[in-house]
């Protein structure tokens, strides 16, 4: 294995020869080198080709109070291009990138901080048509991607949506204007759920006349029948839908396509039809006894609870099978409709439960009993044919090592006595009636084949979006599909290619944050606590659990937003905190609507060019320049202030072979 380094001369005459030869070899080598072209630089007349240096003095690209932060605002077809462009330039804020509908949460924070809640509302509404609704029920992927997770806690983006809505509501009548119609084509949308209404909103913005058919008497789709009122007060939902109507939406309630009006007729009358009916049917496991009295699906249960406020479980014991968000909703509704004892049984263990952790936490607060790692085995039926209990089997593991659903069961059985069993294990669409009269066909499993990128169906004129396509999911995902479907319809009606340039847009990968250290972090750096109704009070009726933010709280929270990737310094002081040499000094004033950076000093005589500050900068306002020649006559000149740093781009330009590369030695705007 080892190479020997000793390398001795041979002995005797050969050694003497080798010794003399070594001298001659040395002379040959230096002689040959002398004849070679010179490798070093002829100073200073030759053009010096230097490798790019980025470790020059720091500079700022913009400063709050001097530079505006651009909000991401564009019409429906252009918005995607805007987001993709920012993504390519690595300037997409994490919250926007992680939101399925790319809602500009940064712009919202900025406008709220500037004291413009109505503008913030309208900005959010461009991508999320129900800021007030989603401000209560969204599962907020934006907050999990928030860069603030690194430092302390994420911005409360969802409560800020809600706050913006509540502020907007006061001035809605002045600000609402109907969209002008400048296209002749008419579009029918079946279903008034989030995805259908999103498509309707986008198409109305584009100048189409849109008619929405809703089979129920009240609009909202799953938002109405599926989301319990304690999470989403009905007046909020209907107020926001009412706003759409004021903007020109033709909403036909109580008209069921396939029953009251046939698809065939729609296709005749309208230029395009969008199917956004969502999922209506709950799956029930075909266990022994599943047809007994007292076994229900989650959707009918929720529907009953939401429409009538009574699910027929008053004084009964309820067992919910399933661990998702719907199951939790069912459980909490059961409590509110008078169930004496509500249990939640799911296959998954505590940590694996698919519902959002805050949901189960609130449910547990209210008295729901969670029973994890139990699989349903048999419904125990009493003599009179009603449910008596449920036999559950111990579940060892739910997923195999590749992450696929493959439950393994143990040998232990548990009998749970209960009066009502609600299955919340999945939903399916009911489409047969809807598509009758069109050229569409369903698959064996009752699904409609739809292109997942552009949301076209087998028939050119018909489009589909929402949970019909994606399966059970969250409202914001449905909204995102609505935007895409609207664009497809627009392209189709304008005779453009529906597919050209359309891709499944890359969802940027954001890191999974480990919880940041919160010791000693307090005051303005802490996330605002969203007030909640007390558990013992809230279980009694359908009053909202989560209460709104006050104006000051909302302002404070909006101020916490770091305006990521905006390339404008917001004076967050993270650079100063991380500087190993105390070279950076930042001060700002923080009054509502008055947030400004008043001081930004960099002492270059201390700077060690480690780059930690630029790495920490959430807005990318702080960068290194290619200006590395830093010779000053006076030490005072080594202190760069805000103005100097905004100016210091004119340093020596990197001239390496890849000087055109992005973000390297970049010195000009």
């Amino acid at each position: 294995m080892a190479v020997n380094a000793t390398n001795d001369y041979p002995s005797g005459a050969a050694g003497i020869f080798a010794r003399v030869r070594s001298l001659l070899t040395g002379l040959t080598i230096t002689g040959r080198q002398a004849l070679r072209p010179v490798g070093t630089v002829r100073y200073p007349r030759e053009k010096v080709v230097l490798s790019p240096r980025w470790r020059g003095a720091l500079r700022l690209r913009g400063v709050l109070g001097r530079d505006e932060i651009s909000v991401l605002s564009a019409g429906p077809p252009a918005y995607n291009a805007l987001i993709d462009g920012l993504y390519r330039e690595n300037r997409l804020p994490a919250c926007v990138g992680n939101c399925p509908a790319n809602v500009d949460a940064r712009g919202q924070g900025y406008l709220l901080g500037e004291g413009k809640p109505s503008e913030a509302y309208e900005l959010v509404r461009e991508r999320n048509i129900f800021p007030g609704v989603l401000g209560r029920i969204c599962h907020h992927p934006c907050e999990s991607a928030c860069r603030r997770n690194y430092y302390d806690e994420p911005i409360a983006i969802r409560p800020l949506h809600r706050h913006a809505y509540e502020e907007y509501r006061k001035v809605a009548d002045e600000r609402l204007k109907p969209f002008t119609v400048h296209h002749d084509e008419r579009i029918a949308i079946i279903g008034s759920g989030p995805s259908g209404l999103t498509a309707a909103y986008d198409l109305m913005r584009l100048g189409y006349r849109v008619t929405v058919y809703e089979k129920d008497e009240k609009p909202g789709g799953a938002l109405y029948s599926g989301v319990p009122a304690y999470r989403l007060p009905r007046e909020v939902l209907h107020d926001e839908i009412g706003n759409l109507v004021k903007m020109g939406l033709d909403l036909k309630l109580g008209v069921e396509v396939g029953k009251n009006v046939s698809m065939h007729r729609l296709l005749d009358v309208y230029d395009a039809v969008l199917i956004a009916v969502g999922l209506q049917e709950s799956r029930i496991l075909p266990l022994p006894g599943h047809d007994a009295e007292g076994v229900e699906g989650a959707l009918p249960f929720l529907r009953a609870a939401n429409w009538k406020g009574d699910a027929g479980v008053k004084g009964l014991r309820v067992l919910v099978i399933g661990g998702g968000n719907v199951a939790v909703d069912v459980a909490r509704c059961a409590l509110r409709t008078g169930a004496t004892e509500v249990r939640l049984a799911c296959l998954e263990s505590d940590a694996e439960m698919p519902c959002h952790p805050w949901e189960i936490e609130e449910a547990l607060d209210e008295g729901v009993i969670a029973m994890c790692s139990l699989g349903p085995e048999e419904v125990l039926v009493s003599a009179i044919g009603s449910v008596r209990g449920m036999r559950m089997r111990e579940c060892i593991s739910v997923f195999d090592e590749k992450g696929r659903f493959a439950p393994e069961f143990g040998d232990e059985y548990t009998d749970i006595s209960t009066d009502v069993v609600v299955f919340a294990i999945g939903q399916a669409p009911v489409l047969a009636d809807v598509i009758e009269g069109s050229e569409l066909t369903l698959t064996d499993r009752g699904m409609l084949p739809v292109d997942g990128t552009v949301f076209t169906t087998a028939q050119e004129q018909v489009f589909a979006c929402g949970e019909v396509v994606t399966g059970p999911g969250s409202a914001i995902v449905s909204i995102a599909t609505g935007h895409e479907a609207a664009e497809s319809i627009h392209r189709y009606l304008q005779g453009q290619s529906v597919t050209e340039g359309r891709v499944v847009r890359p969802v940027p990968l954001y890191e999974e944050y480990q919880p940041a250290l919160l010791d000693g972090v307090e005051g303005e750096r802490r996330r605002v606590t969203v007030p909640m109704a007390r558990p013992e009070e809230r279980v009694t009726d359908f009053r909202p659990v989560e209460l709104g933010l006050t104006q000051m709280e909302a302002l404070g929270e909006a101020m916490r937003c770091l305006r990521c990737q905006s390339e404008v310094c917001v004076g967050c002081t993270f650079c100063a905190r991380t500087c190993p040499d105390y070279a950076i000094q930042v001060e700002r004033i923080d009054d509502p609507g008055q947030r400004r950076v008043t001081l930004y000093d960099l002492d270059l005589s201390k700077c060690c060019f480690c780059g930690l500050c630029a790495q920490q900068c959430p807005t990318d306002a702080l960068t290194h320049t290619g200006q590395y020649e830093l010779t000053f006559f006076h030490r005072d000149l080594m202190v760069f202030d805000c103005d100097e740093m905004l100016r210091s781009g004119e340093g020596t330009r990197a001239t390496g072979r890849d000087s055109g590369r992005e973000g390297n030695g970049e010195v000009s705007d």
Partner: protein, 316 residues
């Protein structure tokens, strides 16, 4: 009296020749060293940086002449001159052209070999008077080294003297034959190495060994005094290469008249170049190795050469 005037004139001339030689020599050395080390060397002042040495000389002249407080002032000041004078003197006996050597003496070879040895006194004094350990060590090393290499150097020239039958340089030139070159080649090698040692160049620059003794005896000198040491070194280099070119390679012979001088200088240049080349190629020796080389390698080699030439002469 006239001797004194001649002496003065000669001294002036020698001083100028050495200055000029140092002037060009320093430039040439820096250029050559630069090329060997993949650099350009001086390039800014004048064409090819020729005036760089001038600028440096000016700088050295204008620099403060620092005399450290603790030194023995008189000896400290006089030492550079003691080193410089023999180097200049040794130029006097070299046969430059047909029938011309500034001082035509019958013991020219002996003079040339013996006089530079005086400079050892200067180096020793410089080292001792500087009153620091490095300088002292350097001075002592210089003394040991120069004395040791005097013997092989002298012995290496003897074969030519033997062949020519005279110690007068002009006589040697008259008697010089082309076949002497192969015959005295070993002698030349010994002469070459010993001369390197004599003028303190790598691999024999022990007295001023930068890495160990930080310039040895010259550590405390600055400005013009240091420049005199440097000039002495270049004077030694010039003298050694000129003399070597004369006695081992026939100096000006081969080309008639004044053109002979050019040939002579060219030959000397080649030897000087070789010296620079060697000194920029090899590492420095250790004091004990230095002594061993002198006594165990060079002296026997010179003796072998002497015997060889003696045998050839007796055979002739």
């Amino acid at each position: 009296m006239s001797g004194l005037i001649w002496g003065a004139i000669y001294g002036l001339a020698a001083g100028m020749v050495i200055s000029l030689a140092a002037f060009i020599g320093v430039w040439g050395e820096r250029k050559i060293a630069g090329r060997i080390q993949l650099r350009y060397g001086p390039q800014e002042l004048g064409p090819f940086g020729l005036l760089q040495t001038g600028a440096d000389t000016l700088k050295l002249l204008l620099k403060e002449d620092i005399t450290p407080a603790a030194v023995d002032v008189r000896i400290f000041r006089v030492a550079p001159l003691i080193v410089f004078a023999p180097a200049a003197m040794s130029l006097a006996v070299i046969p430059y052209a047909y029938g011309f050597a500034p001082i035509d003496t019958g013991v020219g070879v002996l003079f040339f070999v013996a006089v530079p040895a005086i400079s050892v006194v200067g180096v020793l004094l410089a080292g001792w008077s500087s009153r620091n350990t490095y300088a002292t060590l350097g001075g002592l090393r210089a003394a040991a080294q120069m004395i040791s290499y005097e013997l092989p150097r002298t012995l290496s020239v003897l074969p030519v003297v033997l062949l020519a039958g005279s110690m007068r340089p002009l006589d040697i030139m008259d008697a010089w034959q082309w076949w002497w070159i192969p015959l005295t080649f070993i002698g030349f090698i010994v002469y070459f190495i010993a001369s390197l040692a004599e003028i303190n160049r790598v691999p024999f620059d022990l007295p001023e060994a930068e890495a160990e003794l930080v310039a040895g005896p010259f550590a405390d000198y600055s400005g013009i005094r240091w420049a005199i040491f440097a000039m002495a070194e270049y004077g030694g280099l010039v003298a050694a290469s000129l003399f070597g070119a004369a006695v081992f390679f026939g100096g000006y012979l081969g080309v008639p008249g004044a053109l002979g001088v050019i040939v002579f200088v060219l030959k000397a240049l080649v030897i000087a170049l070789l010296m620079l080349w060697v000194s920029w190629t090899f590492p420095r020796m250790r004091p004990d190795q230095l002594m061993a080389t002198a006594w165990k390698v060079l002296t026997p080699m010179a003796l072998i050469q002497l015997v060889l030439v003696g045998a050839v002469i007796s055979w002739l």
